[in-house]
Symmetry: none
Subunit: 148 residues, 2 copies
């Protein structure tokens, strides 16, 4: 969600700049008031192109950035449990989670209550600084906590 804002900001600035130059042009270069339509057309065309470009940028940039973090060529393998403070039990839960098990399944496999599993996972998520289990699995792999 951070990129949204930077993109919007960037686009806003560009727009502002163009508007400024527009104003400038009006008083300096062209004063064809009779050819108002021409002027409008040029503006329209220009900003249409800009809009298309911005749209592409906006839509195209996000996945690329995510990919980049997702495919980490050299994962720091020994940034282990202790570095982030993940406990053995949490790691165990994490492993089962990565295998696609539901919380209930994990609870059954480890002879735990569902609530306990949820607590572990909740702690895991905050320790890995993510919000969803899918992200947790990804991050754990890049951190070397899980085999890829």
């Amino acid at each position: 969600m951070k990129n949204h804002w930077s993109n919007i900001l960037f686009y806003g600035l560009t727009l502002g700049l163009l508007l400024a130059s527009l104003q400038f042009l009006q008083y300096k270069w062209v004063l064809l008031k009779s050819d108002f339509e021409w002027y409008g057309g040029i503006i329209a065309l220009l900003f249409t192109v800009l809009g298309i470009w911005a749209g592409q940028q906006w839509k195209g940039k996000k996945p690329a950035l995510v990919e980049q973090t997702a495919q980490h060529p050299f994962p720091p393998r020994d940034v282990n449990m202790t570095a982030i403070g993940i406990t053995p039990r949490e790691l165990q839960v994490l492993q089962l989670m990565a295998l696609g098990h539901s919380n209930q399944e994990i609870a059954d496999l480890l002879f735990l209550s569902l609530n306990t599993v949820k607590t572990h996972i909740s702690n895991l998520l905050s320790k890995l600084d993510v919000e969803r289990r899918t992200q947790a699995i990804l991050k754990a792999k890049t951190l070397g906590l899980l085999p890829k």
Copy 2:
């Protein structure tokens, strides 16, 4: 290729119409020559939005597929896709899902409604014969639908 042309045509017509109304407005409603900047700003904004929309319409489908092939040299995409019957759009959703995005995020990224994303994912789950998205990601990787 048929839609491209219809889109272009439609866009051209819209542009023409807007230019016409622009001209009309100039002679009828607003004659604020001093507020030229305002006028230009409105045009710019309007056509920017239009441009973004047009860009999305026009080129909306391609970038995603291009990104994907660029990111991964040899994804046996077509083979496996057709084998299980996964559509391009579903694959796209699957990819974002594998990056840890929530349904809402995917909806925002693809400019879709949440319901649509849910439909795609629901179809994905049944096609992959799994019950959870974590399992779907795993299975998609073993099937070569996603890079490992």
